[in-house]
């Protein structure tokens, strides 16, 4: 059951509405496993165009304190990769919003790469993003992912050299994830500088849309980035809202951010 180009279509729809797309990250099973489905549905209904479903890992070395804590909490509560796929299957029965599975490499290796791809596709996943699998780190593995029905979303950092950035952009599926700053995930009071220029360059080099993430938590930041990019990615702010104000609080944040994305 392949869902043809669902991510691209979601970005196209946002563009047709003259706004940036909203990509929302949620740690699977957070704030509590029994609320995991409600959190995804709430994000979708409040305006998320694409959902990144985070598979918790014991050693989330690219994540800041918010997502670290969420990961540890849900692992403690029994969430693992098969559980996250089951959550996705449930979600897919209720909503059509494209979903990118967001994971570190080890849980997928442990599960088995080919087994994972078929289980993820079967559960209704559209894309895959692996934090610690940079381009060309493992050509054999990357070929398996790239030749699967899943879009392999690639990350580009401010430190990525120009030629490599173009190369990554050309190999990214679904969208390109531009990391707005060096550092781990998490809310910041100010946006990084130089985003506009980088994004413009990447858009020229890429056949897929360019979305910007890391450090976006407020409507002002969302609005500023929405003027430069095809999409914005919100992770820690949503996880933080879920943790502190529950599913309703998360939904409220997403609705606010979604309202800030118009290009006027």
């Amino acid at each position: 059951m392949s869902r043809d180009r669902a991510i691209a279509k979601a970005f196209d729809r946002a563009a047709a509405e003259k706004r940036a797309a909203l990509v929302v990250y949620a740690t699977a099973g957070y704030p509590r496993p029994e609320e995991g489905l409600a959190a995804l549905v709430a994000a979708a209904d409040a305006g998320a165009d694409v959902i990144e479903l985070g598979v918790p890992f014991s050693d989330p070395l690219a994540d800041g304190p918010t997502i670290q804590k969420a990961s540890f909490d849900v692992i403690e509560a029994g969430v693992d990769l098969p559980w996250a796929l089951e959550l996705l299957r449930e979600f897919r029965r209720q909503r059509d919003t494209p979903v990118v599975i967001f994971s570190y490499l080890n849980p997928i290796l442990h599960f088995g790469v080919e087994r994972f791809i078929s289980a993820a596709v079967d559960a209704g996943a559209d894309g895959l993003l692996i934090t610690d699998l940079p381009v060309d780190a493992d050509p054999e593995l990357e070929t398996l992912f790239e030749s699967s029905p899943l879009d392999l979303v690639r990350l580009i950092a401010p430190t990525t050299l120009r030629e490599r950035a173009r190369y990554i952009a050309s190999r990214s599926g679904g969208f390109v994830y531009y990391i707005s700053r060096t550092g781990v995930t998490g809310a910041r009071s100010e946006l990084a500088t130089g985003i506009e220029e980088k994004v413009a360059e990447l858009r020229a080099a890429s056949e897929v849309p360019v979305a910007v993430g890391f450090g976006i938590s407020t409507a002002e930041q969302a609005a500023a980035v929405a003027r430069m990019a095809d999409g914005i990615i919100v992770g820690s702010a949503f996880v933080d809202a879920l943790g502190k104000r529950g599913v309703a609080g998360g939904a409220e944040l997403i609705a606010t951010l979604r309202g800030a994305l118009g290009r006027g």
């Binding site: 890992f57 670290q68 990769l81 490499l105 493992d138 580009i156 990525t160 490599r164």
Partner: protein, 399 residues
């Protein structure tokens, strides 16, 4: 003379299946830069001269190869030779690598240094070289290790380093390493990360091995000089695996020399509390490389346990995984109790108090020495001294 990897050697980022660069994209340019700068330094005689001069005059190399006769007698008549890395400045082999890397940091113009530490020996070595070169130094250390290695924490602070306590996850070396990587991802443009073992993404495992191979090069020459033959076996403890990789590497081509790595078995390999990664792990990705890894049934990294903070790590250097699978090296383990016994035995028999890490290698000698008796020299890496462990051992022995 040590052999540093050339640009050509550094093209390959794997040891067989193991190794690689499984890190966030943000770090790729820094790893490329480090690889290029290291390759340049390898080809530059002045780099080697400066490093060797520091090893000699500052560290006190070469370290002796010492015939431990009373230990040998107690170990069933084996001919035991100890490679005395415990006599290095700062008390362990860690300084060999820290000096090499700080010279590279200087070449890269990076003025801020970060490190992770378990037992504190690598943290002390890094703080020392930063003091020597006037660089800012931040060391990440797990809360649990700060408790059991208070002396080393104070030493690092005396040397001008900032020690940051890590209270996430296991509160030991694994999570200290996570936190150091997070710092590096954030401050990568002005910071060099001095990894203390043969772990992490390429080029670290090859580079740290090269710097530590001075141990094996000296030991091989000394053994030939003193005994007229190569050792029958080389023994070293394995956590991440830097002292063992350093002493093994120059012997890899000597096919008749057995290589034995001793992992920490904690409460025992038949219990859940151990750090015997090569003995019981399964290949996976942690801290940037693909290698044997202790993990649970969901692919989460399992907490390790060892009496020794320096071996309390669920991963292991990828080249060890390669040596294990190729059969060139053999990996065994010693329990906390065996290590604690060896710690005391070496003190009584030889007047040498070993680090708890190194005591695992001594425990193997005591347990298996009789098997090696009459078969030629047994060279054992005494990777560090035990001053740092005295308070912890006193507590454990109820004194």
């Amino acid at each position: 003379m040590i052999v540093l990897s050339s640009a050509r050697d550094l093209v390959a980022d794997r040891f067989g299946l193991f190794g690689g660069r499984f890190v966030p994209e943000t770090l790729i340019s820094a790893l490329d830069e480090l690889t290029a700068v290291y390759a340049d330094a390898s080809a530059d005689p002045s780099f080697r001269e400066e490093l060797e001069a520091l090893w000699k005059d500052y560290v006190g190399r070469p370290t002796p190869l010492y015939r431990a006769e009373r230990l040998g007698e107690a170990a069933g008549g084996a001919e035991v030779w100890l490679k005395r890395e415990d006599l290095n400045h700062t008390g362990a082999h860690k300084i060999n690598n820290a000096l090499g890397q700080v010279l590279l940091a200087r070449r890269m113009g990076k003025r801020r240094i970060i490190a992770e530490t378990g037992a504190g020996q690598h943290g002390v070595a890094t703080a020392t070289v930063c003091a020597l070169f006037g660089l800012e130094c931040v060391v990440y250390m797990g809360e649990e290790d700060i408790r059991r290695q208070a002396l080393n924490v104070f030493r690092m602070r005396l040397l001008g380093a900032e020690v940051r306590s890590v209270d996430s996850g296991t509160r030991t070396l694994k999570d200290a390493t996570n936190e150091a990587i997070r710092d590096w991802v954030t401050n990568v443009t002005d910071t060099h990360y001095i990894i203390g073992s043969v772990v992490g993404p390429h080029p670290y495992p090859a580079m740290v091995r090269d710097f530590q191979s001075v141990i094996g090069i000296e030991a091989r020459n000394q053994c030939l000089e003193r005994t007229g033959q190569l050792p029958s076996v080389v023994v070293a403890c394995v956590g991440g695996g830097s002292n063992s990789m350093g002493i093994f590497h120059p012997f890899i081509g000597d096919r008749n020399v057995a290589l034995v790595g001793v992992e920490a078995a904690g409460d025992g390999v038949d219990t859940p509390r151990h750090a015997a990664t090569l003995t019981l792990g399964k290949p996976g990705v942690l801290h940037g490389s693909f290698s044997y890894l202790l993990q649970d049934e969901h692919g989460q990294v399992a907490g390790a346990h060892s009496i020794s903070a320096g071996l309390d790590y669920p991963g292991v250097g990828p080249e060890h995984s390669y040596l294990k699978d190729s059969g060139r090296a053999t990996y065994v383990s010693a329990t906390d109790a065996e290590a604690l016994n060896a710690f005391q035995q070496l003190a009584r028999l030889e007047g040498i108090i070993p680090a708890l890490e190194s005591a695992h290698a001594i425990a193997y000698v005591l347990r298996e020495g009789a098997r090696w008796a009459g078969r030629g020299p047994m060279v054992v890496c005494l990777s560090g001294r035990g001053d740092k462990d005295v308070a912890q051992v006193a507590e454990m022995l109820g004194q």
